[in-house]
Amino acid sequence: MAKITLDNLAHSYLPNPGSEDDFALKELNHDWNDGEAYALLGASGCGKSTLLNIISGLLQPSQGRILFNDQDVTHAPTTARNIAQVFQFPVVYDTMTVRDNLAFPLRNRGADADYIATRVQEIAAMIGMEDTLDRKARGLTADAKQKISLGRGMVREDVNALLFDEPLTVIDPHMKWELRTQLKRLHQQFGHTMIYVTHDQTEALTFADKVVVMHDGRVVQIGTPQELFETPEHTFVGYFIGSPGMNVIPAKVDGDRAYINGAEVMLARGYGKLQGDIAIGVRPEFARLSDSEGLPVKIRRIEDVGRHKIIRADCFGTEINIVAAEADEIRADMTRVAFDADHVNVYANDWRVKEEAA
C-alpha cells in the first residue's frame, strides 16, 4: 500500500512532441492518497488508460516523475513496482487450471504453498468460482475469464495499488453490481489504494470516494460525487456527469446579473470583469418551468422516464433540459424557465469562474 505521487507528469506517444495537442496526457501534478478508492472517469481516448499504464510502469512517461511513498519509481520496471492491474478484456493463461491462474502471481513471488492454497480459496469464494477451480481456463465464458483476471489482481495482499482498467465491460449486468460491491468490500477490508478507470458515471460514482474526471488528456476536476454534481469545474464535467447533463447557455455577465439575449437572470454571487466565451451552467434539476418568471422557452417535447419527467426545450436557440417531478403538472401557459440562483455557475472558456469575495 502506498501513496502515489505524480510530479509534473506528461506523456506523448510521439517521439518529439511539439505543441500541447501532441500530448495524450497533459502536465499533471497529483497525490493519490494511501488507501483511498479513486475512479478515473472520462470519455474514450481521453488519456485514462495512458495514465494507468504509466502508474503501473507499462509505459514510460515523456516527462515528470512518479513516486511511491516518496520514492522515485519513474524508471522502475513493472515487476519491481508490485502493482496489480486488471485489464478491460480478460487475460487468462489458457493452459492452466483456474486454480493455477489464481495462484500464478503468488507463485512467481515464491509464496509459501499453504498460504497460496488458502489465499486462492478465499479469492475463489469472492469471485464465486470455487466449483470450477480445477477446470482448465480455456473454454470458459468471457464472464468467467474476466472474473479470473479480477481474482488474479486481488490475490496479492501486499500490493502498492490495485488498478482497474474498465474491468467490468464484458461482465453481465447483474454480476457487475455484485463484483463492484465485492471490490468495495475488499477496499474497506484491506485498505488498498485503488484506481478504477471507467467511462460509466454510475460505476465511478458508486465505487469511489473521489472521482477524477479527465477530458482531452487533462484532469479537469477531482472531487466527491457531490462536488462534481453541484459545482462542476469545467463544462465537460457538467455534460458528462448527470443525466441529462448540465445546461450551458451563452450569456453576458455583469456583477450579479447574467443577460441572455437581453433577458436578465439573477445570480447568487457577484462576478468581476470576465474574459473569453462566457456562459452560465445550470443542472436540469435546478431549473423549473413557470408561467410568470424567468426566460421564455419553447417546449419541444416531454419525456416521462418514470421517476421524473424531462422537458426538452429551446431557449433563444440553445437546447436546454429541465427535470420536473413526476407529480408536477405542466400546463400550456408555462412558457418560461426559472433557475435556482444558488446553483447557477458561471463559465469562462469552459472553466468555472470563482465568484468575487463579498
Binding site: 499504464n53 503501473s56 510502469g57 507499462l58 520496471p77 513493472t78 515487476t79 502493482i83 496489480a84 492491474q85 485489464f87 478491460q88 478484456f89 487475460v91 493463461y93 489458457d94 493452459t95 492452466m96 500464478f104 502471481p105 512467481n108 513471488r109 482448465k136 480455456r138 483476471s149 488474479r152 489482481g153
Partner: protein, 289 residues
C-alpha cells in the same frame, strides 16, 4: 416438406468428379494395378498378387532406406522447430525491420529445390567451394562425397538453411496474434521470461506450430531433389532416402511392380505417421500438457 427428386443435380457434381478422378484416383489406381503385376516388357503383364509387397517387407534395402529417412526427418525436425521458434521470438514486432526480416526469411523458401542442391553442392566442394575450401584451409578434413558423416551434415545443414524460415514465419504469425494485454498482464503478475514463453507464447503458437511440424515432416520424409543433386544418395547408400531409392528402382532399374508396391507402402507410412503426429499433438493441446 416433400423434396422433389431431381437427378439433373448430378451433372453439377460431374466436373469435380472428373477432375478428382483424373488428378488423383486414376493415377493412384494405376499404381495399385502395377503393384500386383509383373512384366517383362512389351506391355505384357502377369498377375503377381502380393508377391512384391512380401518381397519388399523382407528387403534389407528398403528397411535401411526407411531407417535413414526416419533419422533424417527426426534430426531436421529437432533442429528446425526450436531454431525456428527462437528466430521468430527474436524478430522485431513492429517497425521497418519487420518487412526486411520477412523478405530475408522468405528468400530461401523461394529458391527451387534443385538450385538449392546446386548451391550447396558447389559451396561444399573442397576445390572451388567457399565452405569446403575454407574448411580445408583451416585444416579440417571435410569431403561430402567420400565421408558419410560429412555427407549427412551437409544434407542436414542444407535442409535447415532451406526450411527453418518456414517454421520461423509460421511461429512469427502465431506470436503476432497475441494481444499486448497478455504481456502486460504477465509483467503485472511478475512472470519470468521462461514463464511468458511457456504459458503465453507457446500455447498461442501451438496451432500454427502443429501445421509447421506436419508440413516439415511430410516434406522432409519425401525429400528427393536436394540430396540427389548434392550427394546422389552417396557415398555408397549413405544418403539414399526413400524417394531416391524409389526413383532408382522405378526409373533406373525399371522394376515397375516392386516400385509400385514401394510407392503404396511409402504413401501409407506417411499417412500413418502424419496421423499419429496429429492425434498426439491435438491431445497435447487439449490437455494443455
Amino acid at each position: 416438406m416433400d423434396k422433389t427428386p431431381n437427378q439433373k443435380a448430378w451433372f453439377l457434381v460431374l466436373p469435380v468428379l472428373v477432375l478428382v478422378a483424373f488428378s488423383a484416383v486414376i493415377p493412384l489406381m494405376t499404381v495399385v494395378n502395377y503393384s500386383v503385376q509383373d512384366t517383362f516388357g512389351g506391355n505384357q503383364f502377369f498377375w503377381a498378387g502380393l508377391e512384391w509387397f512380401d518381397e519388399l517387407l523382407h528387403s534389407e534395402r528398403m528397411w535401411d532406406a526407411l531407417g535413414r529417412q526416419l533419422l533424417f526427418s527426426a534430426i531436421i525436425l529437432a533442429i528446425e522447430v526450436p531454431l525456428g521458434i527462437l528466430v521468430a521470438l527474436n524478430m522485431p514486432k513492429k517497425g521497418v525491420w519487420v518487412s526486411v526480416c520477412l523478405v530475408l526469411m522468405s528468400l530461401p523458401l523461394l529458391i527451387p529445390w534443385n538450385v538449392v542442391g546446386t548451391i550447396w553442392q558447389i559451396f561444399g566442394r573442397v576445390d572451388i567451394g567457399l565452405l569446403g575450401h575454407t574448411l580445408a584451409a583451416l585444416g579440417i578434413e571435410y569431403n561430402y562425397t567420400q565421408n558419410t558423416l560429412d555427407a549427412w551434415i551437409t544434407v542436414i545443414v542444407m535442409d535447415v538453411w532451406h526450411w527453418t524460415s518456414l517454421v520461423a514465419l509460421l511461429a512469427y504469425a502465431g506470436l503476432q496474434s497475441i494481444p499486448d494485454a497478455y504481456y502486460q498482464a504477465a509483467k503485472i503478475d511478475q512472470a519470468s521470461r521462461w514463464k511468458v514463453f511457456r504459458y503465453i507464447e507457446l500455447p498461442k503458437m501451438m496451432g500454427v506450430l502443429m501445421i509447421a511440424i506436419l508440413l516439415r515432416f511430410m516434406d522432409s520424409f519425401m525429400i528427393y531433389t536436394e540430396p540427389f543433386v548434392v550427394t546422389g544418395g552417396g557415398p555408397g547408400n549413405a544418403t539414399t532416402f526413400l524417394s531416391i531409392d524409389l526413383v532408382k528402382m522405378a526409373l533406373g532399374q525399371f522394376d515397375l511392380g516392386p516400385a509400385a508396391a514401394f510407392s503404396i507402402m511409402y504413401f501409407l507410412v506417411i499417412l500413418l505417421i502424419s496421423w499419429v503426429f496429429y492425434t498426439v499433438m491435438t491431445n497435447l493441446d487439449k490437455k494443455g500438457s
